[in-house]
C-alpha cells in the first residue's frame, strides 16, 4: 500500500515536471489546411503550437523528439462521440446495430417510471438542458484506446432521447473534466426515438417529427414572451420557466439523424422550416444524396460504421438489390461529398480500436476519397463544422497542441502510431486489445479458428 502511494506521488511529480516546450524535428508535417512540409519542425509550448516550419529555431529549454521517418498530423477529432461520458450508452449498443444513426432505428426511451406522455406538452424524451461539458470525466476507460488510435479530441454528446442534450468539444486528456472542455456547448443532439406502438407520445416517426416541430414553435414563442416580460414585468403575468426550451435555445446547432436519401431530403426541408442551423449525421445513403446536399449547404457527419451483412443470417435468404447496393456503395459517400464540395466530417460511432478505425477509413479511401481529404475529414473539417477551427484541427501557430505522430501514412493497415500529443502533453499508444468475439469487422476470433 505504501509503495502504491509512493508510485502515485511519483506520477504526480512527473506531471509537474513536464517540460514547458517540446520540439518535434526533422519530421514530415501534414498541417491539414496547408501543403505538406517534407521535413520540418513543430514546436509546442504550454499546450499550444508555438511554431511550425522548416526553419524553426529550437529553444534551449525544449525537449526534442526526433522525427526522422515520422509524420506529424493534427490530432484526430471524433465528430460524434460519447468519450468522456462513461455512463453514456453508445448508439451502437443502444440500437443493437446503430448503423448510420438510422432515422428508422427505434431506440428504447430512457427507462422511466413516469406515466406515458400525453403529448408535446409533457416534453417526452427530452433532456435538452443536459450538457456533456458538465459530465465529462478523464477516467472513462475508453479514452486511452481512442487516443492510441490517434484521437485527441471528441465531440461528446448525451445520446438518449429526442432532444438528448448539448455536446461539447473535449480534449482526450486532463486531470479533471473541466480541463478537457474546449467548447462547452456546440450543438443539440436530436434522435427520432419513439416509444413504439402502445407506449406514450410520440409512438411513431411522425410523432417525433411533430414533437420537434412543436418544440421549436414553443421555443420561439417562449423567447418572445420572455423578452416582452423582461421589458415590462410590472403588471404582467410572467411566462413559466421551461428548461426543455431553454436547452434548445442554448444550442447553437442541431444534429439531425439521416440514413437514406429520403431522410436527407426530409430533414433538409425540416431544418429550413424550423429555421435551425442543422448538421446532418449518419448518411449511409449519402452517395445518393449529393444533389440535395450540394444545394442546401448543410454539413454532414458521416458514420464510419459502414453497413455490413448481418451475422448469422439465413444463408438461403438473399438481400434485395437496394440493400446490396447500399452495402457496396456506402463507403463511397465521403468521396462523393468531397467531389461535390459538400462539407463533411467522419465519425467513429464507437469504433475505438485503431485497426478497425483505420480499416473503416481505408474503405472510404479505396472508394475514391483522397488521403488528404480523409485527414481533413477527421481534423480541420469537423473543427470548422463546430466552429472551433480557430483553435483546433490543423498544425498552425497558436492552435492547441493536439498532434498524432505516425510511422507511415495514416489509415493504412500497417500504420504505426508513435506518439499522441493532447494539449501539448505527450502520450504513447497502449497495445491494442484483441477484437471481441464475433466482432462485426470480420477478423476471425480464436473460437472460429479451432
Amino acid at each position: 500500500m505504501k509503495r502504491l502511494i509512493l508510485a502515485l506521488v511519483a506520477v504526480a511529480a512527473l506531471h509537474a515536471e513536464l517540460p514547458s516546450a517540446i520540439a518535434i524535428r526533422n519530421a514530415r508535417i501534414v498541417p491539414a489546411n496547408s501543403p505538406t512540409i517534407a521535413r520540418g519542425t513543430v514546436l509546442l509550448r504550454n499546450g499550444l503550437i508555438e511554431a511550425v516550419g522548416t526553419d524553426v529555431q529550437i529553444p534551449a529549454d525544449a525537449w526534442v523528439v526526433e522525427g526522422d521517418g515520422l509524420t506529424v498530423y493534427p490530432g484526430l477529432i471524433d465528430s460524434i462521440s460519447t468519450l468522456g461520458l462513461p455512463n453514456a450508452v453508445t448508439t451502437a449498443a443502444a440500437t443493437g446495430g446503430g448503423r448510420g444513426g438510422g432515422a428508422n432505428v427505434i431506440q428504447a426511451a430512457p427507462a422511466s417510471t413516469a406515466p406515458p406522455a400525453r403529448g408535446p406538452e409533457d416534453r417526452p424524451s427530452t433532456t435538452s438542458w443536459e450538457k456533456a461539458a458538465d459530465e465529462v470525466k478523464p477516467t472513462d476507460t475508453r479514452i486511452e484506446a481512442a487516443r492510441s488510435a490517434g484521437f485527441t479530441t471528441a465531440v461528446s454528446f448525451p445520446h438518449r432521447g429526442i432532444f438528448a442534450g448539448q455536446g461539447a468539444v473535449v480534449d482526450l486528456a486532463g486531470e479533471k473534466g473541466g480541463d478537457m472542455v474546449v467548447a462547452p456547448s456546440v450543438g443539440q443532439y436530436v434522435t427520432l426515438t419513439n416509444s413504439g406502438f402502445g407506449g406514450g407520445y410520440p409512438g411513431s416517426l411522425m410523432g417525433s417529427i411533430a414533437y420537434i416541430r412543436q418544440i421549436y414553435i414553443d421555443a420561439d414563442y417562449y423567447q418572445k414572451a420572455k423578452a416582452k416580460y423582461a421589458a415590462n414585468p410590472r403588471g404582467n403575468p410572467r411566462p413559466a420557466y421551461d428548461r426543455a426550451l431553454e436547452g434548445v435555445i442554448d444550442s447553437p446547432r442541431v444534429l439531425i439523424p439521416v440514413s437514406r436519401r429520403i431522410d436527407v431530403d426530409r430533414m433538409l426541408r425540416f431544418a429550413t422550416e424550423l429555421k435551425v442551423k442543422a448538421i446532418l449525421y449518419g448518411a449511409v445513403e449519402g452517395y445518393r444524396s449529393a444533389d440535395l446536399l450540394k444545394s442546401a449547404g448543410v454539413p454532414v457527419l458521416v458514420n464510419l460504421r459502414w453497413p455490413e451483412k448481418a451475422r448469422d443470417t439465413d444463408p438461403e435468404e438473399i438481400d434485395n438489390m437496394r440493400v446490396l447496393e447500399n452495402r457496396d456503395k456506402a463507403p463511397s459517400t465521403p468521396a462523393v461529398f468531397a467531389k461535390n464540395g459538400i462539407k463533411f466530417a467522419l465519425y467513429a460511432d464507437g469504433i475505438e480500436r485503431r485497426t478497425d478505425l483505420y480499416r473503416a477509413v481505408k474503405r472510404a479511401i479505396d472508394a475514391g476519397l483522397s488521403q488528404d481529404d480523409a485527414v481533413r475529414a477527421m481534423t480541420i473539417w469537423p473543427a470548422e463544422i463546430y466552429g472551433v477551427a480557430d483553435r483546433l484541427g490543423s498544425i498552425e501557430k497558436g492552435k492547441i497542441a493536439n498532434l498524432v505522430v505516425t510511422k507511415g501514412d495514416l489509415f493504412q493497415d500497417k500504420t504505426e502510431v508513435k506518439y499522441i500529443f493532447v494539449d501539448g502533453i505527450k502520450f504513447e499508444p497502449v497495445p491494442e486489445e484483441p477484437p471481441a468475439f464475433g466482432n462485426r469487422n470480420g477478423a476471425p476470433s480464436n473460437g472460429e479458428q479451432q
Binding site: F197, G198, A210, Q450
Partner: protein
Amino acid sequence: MMKAFLTTLLACAVSYAAAPILIQNATILTVTKGTYKGSVLIRDGKIAEVGEKVTAPAGATIVDGTGKYVMPGIIDCHSHIASDAINEGSVSVSSMVGIPDTINPDDIDIYRALAGGVTTANILHGSANSIGGKTIVLKMRWGKDAHDMIFQGALPGIKFALGENPKRAGNPTGQRINATLRYPATRMGVEDVIREAFQDAKIYQQEWKDYNAKVARGESAVPPRRDERLEPLVEVLEGKRLVHAHCYRQDEILMLLKVGDEFGFKIRTLQHVLEGYKVAKEIADHGTGASTFSDWWAYKLEAFDAIPYNAAIMTRKGVIVSLNSDDAQLMRHLNDEAAKTMKYGGLTEDEALALITINPAKQLMIDNKVGSIEVGKDADLAIYDEHPLSNYAKVDKVFIDGELYFDRDKDIAGRPAKEADKEKLLEKEKQMEQQRRPNGGTNRRPAE
C-alpha cells in the same frame, strides 16, 4: 448559382416540350363520356384531344393500341403505402402528426400499385385514434423525390376513426391487460373525444380571430401560442381540410354526421362504411362520400353485418361511392373489385369504373384534374391488354402527366440485366469477405 438555375429551367422546359404521344386504335373508356374506338393525344402532360379520328401531329410518339383498352388511371381513396410511419397510436387526438412528414418515395409498393393501374392514392394515417393524423394525396410518380409525388392542388385531409380501433386502447384486454389505458374505452367516449377536440379548436380559432382583429385595429397584442394539434381542426372548421372517417356501424355513422352538423363541418368521406347501405339516404343528404370494399368483411365484430351490394345500394341512393384498397396487395387489382359491383347490384360498366376513377376524384375534390379521359385533364392513363373489368386483364402501360411510369414489356425485358447486376454484387461481397479472412475463410470449417 443563377446559371445553374437557368439550366434547370431549361431542362424542365425541354422535358415539357417532349414529343406529343398519340395512343391509336384502342378502346377508350372515358368513364364520363362513353366508350369508343379511337385515339387519345397527350401533349404537355395533359389530354389534348380524344376522338375516333385524331391526326398525329408532327414528331408525335405513336403508341399502337390495337386490341387494347385505355382507361383513366385508378384512384385509391384509402391507402397506407409510401410512408415511413402510419399510426401515432399514443394519444386519442393525434392531429399534430401527419403523413406529409414521412412520405417514402422508395417504397416498392408504389411501383407495384402502378403495375395495377393506380396513378393517384390518398395516403391516410391509421385508425388508432378518434382524431388521427394529417393525410395527403400522392401521384404514383415512382423514381421522383417525396415532394414531387404530392398531388399539387389537392386539399389536405385528416383521418378520423370510430368504433373498435380507437376504443381498443381504453380496454384492458389481451396483451393490454397491464398496460396504461387510454381514454376512450367506448363508442360514447369516441364521440366525446371528437366533440371536446372541436370545442378546443373553436376556442383556439376565436383567440386567433381576436388577436387578428386587435392587430387590424392597430392595438398591441400578444399572439396565441401556435398549437399544432388544433391548427388542422381549425382548418376542418374552415373547410380547408377534408375529413376521412374510418367507420363501420350505422349508429356511429349517424353520430359522426350529427357531430359535424353541430360544429359546422362536413365529413368528406366515410371510409370502410360497411353498414352504409343501412343509412345511405342520410349519408347522401349530408353530401358525404363513401369509400368501401367490394367484399372484404368479418375480420372483426363490427365488420360482420356487411353485404356485397353495399357499393351498389349506396350508389343508387345518390351517394358518391368509391372502392378502396387499404392494402398494398388489394391496391394492385382494384379493377377486379370494381367489376364485382356489376354482379352484386347490377351497376353498369361506367358506374363500376367510376368507383375507382371519377368518384374517388370527386371525393378528393380533384375531379377537375383527374378521374376521366377528357380534354384538359392530366394525362393519367392506364392501358390494359383486355377490358379492365375482366379479371384476365393485365396492365400494359401507365402514364402520369403524360410520362410513362410503367411499361410491362420493358419491365420484363429488363429483368435479366437486373439479375446479373445482383449476381455481380453478391460475388463482390463474397470476395471481400474472403479477403478479410486469412486462408480465404477455409479455416472456419472444422478439420476433418
